[in-house]
Amino acid sequence: MNFSDETVMAYADGELDAATRAALEAAMALDAQLAQRVARHRALRGRLRAALDPVLDEPLPERLLASVRGAPAPPHAADVIALKRKAVPRWSWPQWGAIAASLVGGALLGPLLLRAPADGALVSRDGQVPASGALARALTGQLASSQPPGAPVQIGVSFRAGNGDYCRTFVLRGTSALAGLACRGQEAWRLEVLAQNPAQPAAAAGYRPAGSALPTSVARTLDELIAGEPLDAGAEAAARERGWQPITRGKTPPGAPAPPGPPRDPDH
C-alpha cells in the first residue's frame, strides 16, 4: 500500500483519522522505508523544538510585562532595528537648533525651529519649509550613484510620491548627523521630515545608511509617501535632467479642450 507524503506527514503530526492511521501503522510494521519516512518527520519536529524551546524558559523582558499591563514601554538599548513604533531619541531643543543651523544655515531653518518637534523630528508637512543652500544644491544636483564620498550631504534614495512629486532621502554630515526627506515642489525642495540619524556619524566615507539605521520618523514618512519602487540610477539621472518636475500625465496640449473635472485629479 502506498501512502502519499502528505498522508505520512499527517500521521507524524497526529492528524490522521483512525482508519487511515491503523492502516498506516500496519503497513509500517512491514515497511522499513515507510517507518523511516515517519521518523524523518518526527525528527525534524524534534530538532525544531530543541532549538526553540529554550525561549520558553527565558526570563520575560520587563518591557513585555509592562506592555501587558498597558504601561508605556521603556526604551531599550541597542536600538538598531527600525520597527515602527520604536521611540526616536529625543534631543533637547537647543541642541537641535545649533546642529541644524550649523549644517544647513539659519535662514533655512529659522521658520522650522519655531515649531516644536512632536517625536524628536522636525516635521514640516504643513509648513512647506523650503530647503535651500547646500542641501538644496545636493538635492538638485547630486546623484546617489556618483556622489563624492566626503560631501556634506549624502543622498540616499530617490522615489516618486503618491502625488507624483519626486522625493529624496538624505543624510547631513557633521559633528552629528541629521537625516531627512525632501520632496520637490514646483519651485523648491521642501523638507518633509528631518531627524537625528542614529547611525554613527564617524562611519567611513562613502557609507550608505542602511534602512535599518534611518531615524524612525524618516523611515515612516518614506513608507507613507512612496508609490511603487525607488528610482534606479537611470531613472534618477533622468529625473535630474527634468529638474525633478513630475511627468505630467495626460497634459492638455495647447488649444485642446480642457478635460472635465479638477485638473490635478489622477484618473485611476
Binding site: 507524503d5 525534524l44 530538532r47 525544531l48 513585555l64 520604536k86 532621502t169 534602512g211 512612496i226
Partner: protein, 182 residues
Amino acid sequence: MEENGSHERNAGIDVRASPQELGEGLVTLLPRLRRFARALTRDAHDADDLVQIAVERALTRAGQLRPDAPLSSWMFGIVRNAWLDELRARGRRARLFAPAESGEQVGDASQGAHADLLAVQDALARLPEEQRAAVALVLIEGLSYKEAAYIMEVPIGTLTSRLARGREALQEMLGETSGALP
C-alpha cells in the same frame, strides 16, 4: 478529579474577560508568543518587538476577540499579521537603502545548543513566509492543522501543502543528520 480543558490551558480563558483577566491570559501566553515570534523573525530583538506590538494591538482590540476562539489563536494571528506588516515595510526599506545588510550576521557561534538554534533559525529564515508560519505553528507550537489554518486564514489544504513544502525544504537545509544526532 480532572478539571476540564487541560489541553487548552494557555487558551481556555474566558474571552469576555476583564482587562485584568485578559492581561493575565497574555502573561501566560508570553513565552509561547516569544517562541513563535523567534521562529518568524530569527532576531531576538525583533521577536520581542513583534510580541510587544501584538500585545498592544490586542489590548486595543480586545472587543474583537471572539468568544469561541481561544486567546492563543487570536494572539498568534495578531503576531503573524504584525510580522507581515513589518516585512512589507522592511522589504521596501531594504530595496531602498542598503546593500550592507547581507552577510554580516551569519553565525559564528561555536557552542553546541546555540549553534543549533542559529542553524535552525537560518533555515527557517530561508523559507518563504507562508511556509515558515505553517511550520512554526504546527511543528513548533504544536497546533493542529485546523488551528493553524484558522490563524493563517487559509483552507486546511493550503496549510498542509505549505507545511509539506516547508518541511521538505528544511530537511534539505538541515540535512539528514536531524534524526541521527547523539
